[in-house]
């Protein structure tokens, strides 16, 4: 069998840096990794929104979104919540350890098409991981976009990812950042409440704007309702779906929502597409 064309054969990569974003039962760890093979590193390209199958040999693979923008450099970043067997093994990785990566898979946020517009990202919890590449991409190409509004919330302040980066965002020209936590905390200077309510508070204008939301299904449901209240058209709203995946290339069957494969037709969908798919928000 030809090694070059076997889509199931992963590349080996090495962890360069690793740190915890959050702590607790469902803690989130970020890994910064580099492919071992220089040719692979040079030929690799991805766009915001795409995913990879990352794994540990002997344990298995999980589909994880790439949480960095190609504008950041030749490395890849993954922010992984500890949840099952594979993510547990990924959490045990430290700098110098090996992991496997194959991909990139799926479509991407149409960041090129969005040029000239204002981008509003609305994230909840680990949902900020797939949104981060958009933020970095817009920052790197700042003059191409009218502006960027980041809306992000988590259960508590300890559950917010990318805290330092979010603080730095406030110093970027034309970028605003709005944070929320679900429950009141002493010393918390920002919004208290759920992300869909924060969205209404920020009240972004739909004029020449794209809204992108990622987070828990229940949050997405209410964010979509509220975006409609704010008069965003279906075509101006984007989200990502996730489902259990094994192959990543539209063969193994399980990730379908209706007649769409999340791994091939997604993970990025416009609401105009998804509103007609009955299983999309199951």
């Amino acid at each position: 069998m030809n090694e070059k064309v076997n889509p199931y054969k992963p590349y080996m990569a090495t962890v360069q840096e690793a740190w915890y974003e959050t702590t607790g039962d469902r803690c989130i760890k970020t890994l910064k990794v580099l492919f071992d093979d220089e040719e692979v590193r040079e030929n690799w390209s991805h766009l915001p929104g795409q995913c990879t199958m990352i794994g540990v040999l002997g344990v298995g693979e999980s589909m994880i979104s790439i949480s960095c923008s190609p504008t950041e450099g030749k490395f890849l970043r993954f922010s992984v919540m500890r949840m099952g067997k594979v993510t547990q093994a990924i959490h045990q990785l430290e700098p110098g350890d090996k992991l496997t990566v194959r991909g990139p898979y799926g479509n991407n946020f149409p960041v090129e098409e969005w040029k000239g517009k204002r981008i509003v990202t609305i994230g909840g919890g680990i949902g900020q991981a797939p949104l981060r590449p958009i933020i970095e991409y817009v920052k790197a190409n700042r003059s191409d976009y009218e502006g960027l509004t980041v809306i992000y919330g988590a259960r508590t302040s300890a559950d917010l990812c990318f805290k330092n980066e979010l603080k730095d965002l406030r110093n970027c020209d034309g970028v605003s950042c709005h944070l929320s936590i679900d429950i009141e905390e002493e010393g918390w200077p920002h919004y208290v409440g759920f992300v869909p309510s924060l969205l209404m508070e920020v009240n972004p204008s739909p004029e020449n704007t794209i809204a992108v939301t990622c987070g828990p299904p229940i949050m997405i449901k209410f964010v979509l309702q509220n975006l409609k209240k704010l008069n965003f058209a279906d075509e101006q709203i984007y989200t990502t779906l996730e489902n259990r995946m094994k192959c990543g290339i539209g063969k193994c069957g399980r990730c379908n929502v209706g007649n769409l494969y999340v791994c091939k037709d997604g993970p990025v969908f416009s609401y105009a597409t998804l509103k007609n798919v009955p299983e999309a928000f199951a």
């Binding site: 069998m1 030809n2 090694e3 064309v5 076997n6 889509p7 199931y8 054969k9 992963p10 080996m12 071992d36 040999l57 002997g58 344990v59 298995g60 693979e61 999980s62 949840m83 099952g84 067997k85 594979v86 993510t87 090996k98 299904p217 996730e242 489902n243 259990r244 094994k246 192959c247 290339i249 539209g250 063969k251 193994c252 069957g253 399980r254 379908n256 929502v257 209706g258 007649n259 091939k264 009955p278 299983e279 199951a282």
Partner: protein
């Protein structure tokens, strides 16, 4: 190429003449009939209704190793490709099923494990002259003598088999044993056609699937799915032994320090199939899972590849422990549209 004829008592010699290739034929293995390598004595009985296990397992084994590795190692050793095989006595429905599944494994990105095996098999079909009870192939575009996907179609003429080579691969195979095969006469061909027509008349089960692909999604909330799911045990046999079902899982297995990544059949009727690590399951009950099974076969697959992912072999009806009957389900769906 013209039709040929093989005396039945020469079948053994015909198989011997294919010596460079491994020949698989339906054989009883334990309680099941499945395609297995023909033994040294070359005894083959083509007297069977259909195999319990469809020949899909030759190109898509129940479990197969994708690659080997060592714990802590970085080398990935891909499984080597297999040998050329001849499948003798494939029913036309199962050959059509392979054409259906080819779409999936070759769209967008080729699946090397499936396609390597698929390219190396020659399918010698055997027309169904006595279709079993629950067959409904004509309803889904097939027939007891359908040639789709086959390299040769054989028809049992009593004391001889009529051979109709259909592809260059099939012609090549006939040339390997040209001294055994006699040219068939016009009366042989006419007899075979008559047998095929009679066979089709013996199929009693039918369902009209026109409009299902477009209509099924509109029945998303229908009570039908609840009714179908009520007796379902979620055992998955309808999908495991379905010749067009192709869903798989990928798992790593360790034995000491030696590891292998393998893939194995999976089923959309299993809870774990869609279960997220978080505990969330987008298809939480058998209602959603059965709905997906039917929608996938008769709507999603049609949308994507233009063909129905059902060939009417009847296995899912015959083998269901609680008598769930896909023809009945489709008839109900059709009525509800």
């Amino acid at each position: 190429m013209e039709s040929l004829k093989l005396d039945k008592d020469k079948l053994k010699d015909f198989i011997a003449a294919l010596d460079s290739k491994k020949v698989y034929a339906p054989q009883k293995v334990g309680e099941t009939i499945k395609f297995a390598p023909v033994n040294g004595d070359l005894e083959v009985s083509l007297d069977f209704a259909n195999t319990t296990v469809p020949p899909k397992e030759i190109v898509f084994p129940q479990t197969e190793t994708m690659f080997l590795f060592e714990q802590g190692g970085t080398d990935i050793n891909l499984t080597k490709g297999g040998a050329e095989k001849v499948l003798l006595g494939v029913r036309p429905c199962d050959a059509r099923a392979m054409s259906v599944v080819d779409n999936l494994f070759s769209w967008d990105i080729d699946d090397p494990y499936y396609l390597d095996k698929r390219k190396k098999i020659t399918l010698v079909g055997l027309a169904c002259l006595e279709p079993p009870l629950n067959c409904f192939c004509p309803s889904v575009g097939g027939g007891p003598a359908s040639t789709e996907g086959l390299d040769i179609l054989m028809t049992d003429l009593g004391d001889a088999y009529l051979f109709q080579p259909l592809t260059p691969k099939g012609e090549q195979l006939c040339q390997l044993s040209s001294e055994l095969l006699q040219p068939a006469g016009a009366e042989d061909n006419a007899r075979a056609e008559e047998l095929h027509r009679e066979a089709e008349k013996k199929i009693t089960r039918e369902v009209d699937i026109k409009g299902l692909a477009e209509g099924l999604p509109s029945l998303w909330k229908s009570e039908i799915w609840k009714e179908v799911a009520e007796p379902c045990l979620g055992c998955g046999i309808c999908t495991y032994l379905c010749p067009t079902c192709h869903c798989f899982d990928i798992q790593d297995e360790m034995e000491g320090l030696d590891g292998r990544r393998c893939r194995m059949w999976d089923s959309c009727l299993f809870k774990e199939y869609t279960l997220h690590a978080s505990g969330h399951n987008p298809r939480p009950s058998r209602r959603e899972r059965q709905r997906n099974r039917i929608n996938h076969k008769f709507s999603y697959f049609v949308d994507k590849f233009g063909v129905t992912a059902c060939v009417g072999c009847g296995r899912c009806i015959n083998l269901c422990p609680v008598n769930i009957d896909i023809v009945d389900i489709l008839s109900k769906v059709k009525e509800a549209l």
